[in-house]
């Protein structure tokens, strides 16, 4: 795969984002531009798939081939793209509702197949596009337009989930630390297999005070500064249990021996089985009686 020198603005499209000024997603987008520039693949070799939500608008703001699909279905679509052309760099993005609620059923399977994708979730604990409803990561007791008296549900823990599904790369970042987030996204893309980056990207319109960037800056703790070794899976799980109460950034887990990706295995199988194939025009010979 050829790489070239690209500047971040080579990945910026002309479409003006509709996100509210102050939205955390601007920082995420900036980090994505920078990460892609560092990777050096041309924009036309990148497929960027998303679901539905404010953050799912993100592919249109890049010069990659974008696919802003339907709610919760970015992961299977992205897998189809990657299987169809494994040479593409495939990114997947969406919000916490898109990814963990309606899309939740697809997550374990994308992970266990080890599809070579990078999945970036902009987790803001609320449904922004549709005006502020509860999300699966909203904390218990949170008051929203659909939980006027406070949510009765425990939030899910996306870090713990994705780790337990067996992902080889799990990280968390925030646009409050764009340099750090840029590096995480770059590392995630480079990881040869399914890579997950959960981003605490605050909603400026519906988010609560303690979730905004100012508060995050005060609260965040890089795992590296706490002496965490990303090869230590069990420790990663332990740190992950603190999700929601504390904000840890950095790589929670990186598999030191990445297993082969799904697409790699598919390619090997195709190569093996193509050797003695009947030409397509003669496929009906398979139906000769007593064949």
């Amino acid at each position: 795969m050829e790489t070239q020198a690209y500047a971040p603005k080579d990945f910026k499209s002309d479409l003006k984002p509709i996100w509210c000024p102050g939205c955390g997603d601007f920082g995420v987008l900036q980090a994505i531009y920078r990460a892609l520039a560092a990777i050096g693949r041309p924009p036309h070799e990148i497929a960027f798939v998303s679901g539905i939500g404010c953050s799912s608008r993100i592919p249109g703001y890049t010069t990659a081939y974008g696919f802003n699909s339907v709610h919760g279905r970015a992961l299977p679509i992205a897998q189809g793209i990657k299987l169809a052309n494994p040479d593409l760099l495939v990114l997947c993005a969406g919000g916490d509702g898109d990814g963990f609620s309606i899309g939740g059923g697809h997550l374990p399977h994308a992970v266990r197949r080890n599809a070579d994708l990078t999945y970036i979730v902009m987790d803001n604990q609320v449904y922004g596009l549709t005006k502020g409803q509860l999300s699966p990561t909203s904390s218990r007791g949170r008051k929203t337009v659909t939980s006027a008296y406070g949510s009765l549900e425990q939030p899910i823990n996306p870090l713990l989930q994705v780790l337990s599904y067996g992902a080889g790369f799990v990280a968390q970042g925030t646009p409050a630390d764009t340099p750090g987030l840029t590096m995480l996204i770059e590392e995630a893309i480079r990881y040869p297999g399914f890579a997950f980056v959960n981003v605490q990207s605050p909603c400026v319109t519906y988010g609560e005070e303690h979730q905004q960037m100012r508060a995050q800056k005060a609260m965040m703790q890089p795992l590296a500064s706490l002496g965490h070794d990303p090869a230590d899976f069990l420790k990663a799980l332990e740190w992950a249990t603190r999700y929601g109460r504390e904000l840890h950034t950095g790589v929670f887990y990186r598999n030191p021996e990445p297993p082969p990706s799904y697409e790699q295995q598919v390619r090997e199988r195709q190569a093996l089985l193509s050797r003695n194939a009947l030409p397509r025009e003669r496929i009906l010979e398979l139906f000769a009686p007593h064949a």
Partner: protein
């Protein structure tokens, strides 16, 4: 950390000029983005202000680029945009839909303070005398910029009329 992968102790004048140019470019691009956000969100006064800031940063940038060109010609830059993060560019978090010009000016002020502080912190680490001179100059310029922003703030009419947000409820999409 506002810069990454740059060793200030070995920074040459050429690289320092490249760095300074990039800082202005980054600020210019950020003001352009913020102006677009204000345009999309129908906050015309602030949009106009940010567009002015684009021109201001462009002027700063061009001056530095001219100096660099005069001294070092068209040699390729030693520093890349990837090395700097919001040195002078305002944080995305600084803006809000429907913000006032006052708030925008205060944000610009914070950016100039940020830039000023960057050079103040960098100076003790710089060893090259030409770079030292350059950074002192740039530090002092940031003071001028702050004064300019302050003058703009002072020129603003006093807030009149009642406080409070009268905009419509957000729209579900």
């Amino acid at each position: 950390m506002a810069i990454r992968g740059i060793d200030l102790t070995t920074l040459t004048l050429k690289a320092a000029l490249d760095l300074a140019t990039l800082i202005e470019e980054e600020a210019r691009d950020r003001y352009e983005e913020l102006a677009d956000q204000m345009q999309v969100h129908h906050t015309p006064d602030v949009e106009r202000f940010f567009r002015r800031m684009v021109e201001v940063e462009q002027r700063h940038r061009d001056e530095l680029a001219r100096r660099r060109q005069a001294l070092f010609g068209a040699a390729p830059p030693a520093v890349s945009r990837a090395a700097i993060f919001d040195v002078e560019a305002p944080d995305y978090d600084e803006v809000r839909q429907g913000m006032s010009v006052r708030a925008a000016l205060e944000s610009a002020m914070r950016s100039e303070v940020k830039a000023h502080d960057f050079f103040v912190r960098a100076l003790p680490r710089v060893t090259d005398p030409d770079v030292k001179t350059l950074f002192e100059e740039l530090r002092d310029e940031e003071v001028e910029h702050r004064q300019w922003v302050q003058a703009e703030l002072d020129r603003l009419p006093a807030a009149s009329g009642p406080d409070g947000d009268v905009s419509d409820e957000p729209v579900a999409q």
